[in-house]
């Protein structure tokens, strides 16, 4: 049906052009338009939460029903969700429509402080191990560019910490050579970050920005329609 495609494309074009024009028009109505747009955006995002919750829970119900591998973990999803919803609604007796006084400890806060925060920190700290194994596996001087990459990585690793001073402290010495070596690596690291790294980052950013403009134009003019779902 033509209107399923045409009306969304018209909306995209109109709002896109108005949002583009807003950058150049200093009138108050332009600011009001921007504020209204961002309010609508927040409201729509709020409704999307319901969709997400349904999708998540439906997937786990399906896994439990079909007894797929790891289905027991899906039970934890419900235990956790139910637990937090119940304590959140009870809210230490204040109910869902009032907030407990600031500073009063709540079970909801306890769940966040002693379950969610440690879990998040744990997953994040896995990065250290993964970084080590990835570096060990892939940093081989196979060719010139790989060798350059390896050399820069080693210099930056030296430069970010004070290895020479630490090692000399282990041997009970306060070596000025160690201080100078650490200072040299630190300065070289800063130079690597501020010149070749910065140049490469800027080049990638330029390319990304131009690509983003081109993609935005394709979306604005309806050439790219995949975000509407359901094929071209």
């Amino acid at each position: 049906m033509w209107y399923k495609r045409t009306i969304p494309l018209l909306i995209v074009f109109t709002i896109g052009v108005l949002a583009f024009a807003h950058n150049y028009v200093p009138l108050r109505i332009s600011d009001q338009f921007r504020e209204r747009l961002s309010e609508w955006f927040r409201i729509i995002g709020g409704f999307a939460l319901f969709l997400g919750a349904y999708s998540l829970l439906h997937m786990h119900v399906s896994r439990i029903r079909k007894q797929q591998p790891g289905w027991a973990y899906s039970v934890f999803v419900f235990v956790g969700a139910a637990g937090m919803i119940i304590v959140g609604l009870l809210n230490e007796g204040y109910g869902p429509l009032r907030s407990a006084p600031v500073g009063q400890p709540t079970w909801y806060q306890w769940g966040y402080d002693y379950i969610q925060k440690p879990c998040q920190a744990t997953i994040f700290s896995l990065l250290a191990f993964f970084m080590a194994s990835a570096a060990f596996r892939t940093f081989r001087a196979r060719n010139t560019s790989a060798a350059l990459l390896l050399a820069s990585a080693l210099i930056v690793m030296f430069g970010r910490v004070a290895i020479f001073q630490t090692v000399s402290a282990w041997f009970g010495a306060q070596s000025s050579f160690a201080r100078h070596a650490d200072g040299l690596f630190s300065a070289t690291t800063d130079a690597i970050m501020e010149y070749p790294n910065l140049a490469a980052t800027r080049a990638i950013l330029l390319g990304i920005s131009l690509g983003a403009i081109s993609q935005s134009l394709r979306i604005l003019f309806g050439i790219e329609r995949s975000y509407l779902g359901g094929g071209d």
Partner: protein, 608 residues
Amino acid sequence: MASAKTIDRFGGLVAAIAIGFSLCAAAWGQVQPPAADSVKVHDRPSDDGSAVVVEWPKPAELPENVQYVIEIARKPEDFADKKFQTIKITPSKNLLKTGREKYFGFAASNQDWYAEEVTPAEYLKPQIPWAFTAEESAHLRTVGDVAAVAGIKDALTGLEQWKSLTWCVKEGLLSEKDAQRAWLAWKLTERYAKDVTAATAEATAVQKKAEEELEQAVEARKQAQTAVSQASGPGLEQAKESLAAAVAAEARARAALRSANEAARMTGERVREGLTKSERSDVDWLGRLDSYLEQAKAKRLKKAMQEINAGTYCYRFGVRSEGGETTLVGPVGAEAVYSGRAEANLFRRYKLNNLVFALAFSGIVLTFIQIAKRNPNLYIRKIAGLEAVEEAIGRATEMGRSAYFVHGLGGVSDLATIAAINVLSRVARRAAEYDTRVRVMNWEPIVTAVSQEVVQQAYTEAGRPDAYDPDDIALVGYNQFSYAAAVAARMVREQPAAIFLIGYFLAESLLLSETGASTGAIQVAGTDSDSQLPFFITTCDYTLIGEELYAASAYLSREPRMLGSLRGQDVAKAFLMTAMVVGTIVFTMAVAFGWHVEWIKGLFEVLD
């Protein structure tokens, strides 16, 4: 002995010298105001009509302790009636027109001019009625049973002005009934606030005492520890007993301090518990009313200020030295009066270069799209990551395992996510043709819904609508690391043969790609998040860097219009690269040969 004549002459000489010095002293701190026709008052360009600009030439020599003075009035007659506001400006580098290119451009002559931006509403403040009139008080007295408060008028004048209930009733913010309720709640809150202050003081005293007791207990414990380390023989047992008692006392003191801290934190709540339910409700209502009135006042003030800024006003200009009188521009008694009005402009002139470049770039892209329609065989270089999509799906089919598609953290408004959805539709179609299962891991609900539509359509187009399982496309987590944990766990359990990590990623990128690498899967990654590219490049088989991801839809579909847009993008990039090289050469030579090339910099300057 000096004669009388000599004394006279000497006295005259001294007087003349004194008068000369005082004249010099008077003249020393003075500067003459500029000529009347050199002072200009005009609308500030490229703004929303909130300010005018008063500009005047910078004098060659400027003595110290001199200030410029701008007087602003509603009508010329107001100057004589002393109904004007005065703005005193101390000359400084910031007063020059240079440094404000947004409004005044890049002209070299800007350094010879001072300019002050004047927002009329800051000086000619809006008039808002504050106090009750007698009629209003009488009217309030007659309304409702609360009016049995004979002293209501006197009591209400004690309120802070902005909370003036009469203003609220007049402005239609409050009904009269609410105004009375506010009055009663206000009195209640005053009492409540006093109770809270008293209770807080009491709780703070208890806290302080508990802290002192804890300090003493800690000191006693330390002494007991020292005694134990020094004791021996029969005294050792006694010392140990004393230590145990000191440790217990310290634990009790810590517990007491914890409860004192807790009590101090809960002071407000405890006092509140002493109120009745309706009193509590009134206190809460007044809190909300405060917030509402403050916002309403801010809105009305903003509107009133906008109306004031839109008016035409009169200005006078002058100079003064510290402690001295102001010397105005124009002859005494007929000082120059300037008229100025702020007007809203339709266009931000300082963004003209930005607009020109945006339109030029868009024009280039659209032109090449048109060219591509006529000549569809545009060359596009090979992008290994996109070529590998087929290979990856094929591998999954051969191994009889699934393929994973991970969107990353972007929402549907992110360009990387839209590009990822393009790639997903191709992956899903190929997977449907090869009868391979593709699982899509999402972080955002709307992206989930779009992905489901895209995959379903792909299966339908491949002639396999029955093979589509909506459970394969699901939201797996709404938090960055719960999402990463869920995806990584599924990778380890299900051991996919192909993994596509395409979208916007943050710190979880390495978690996902390294876990994928540990399963032995072929990995194709693509992101515009430049901080995560190094992780993908080291751990994945193929990586789409930045704009290669945006080119994916054009590359995979080979649609002429999309290929044309890529060509246009490349032409614009070529222009930028040329501009950078030429610009570097020109500016280097400018430094060597002293060329004046700041205007070129101004062409590319982004002002905001």
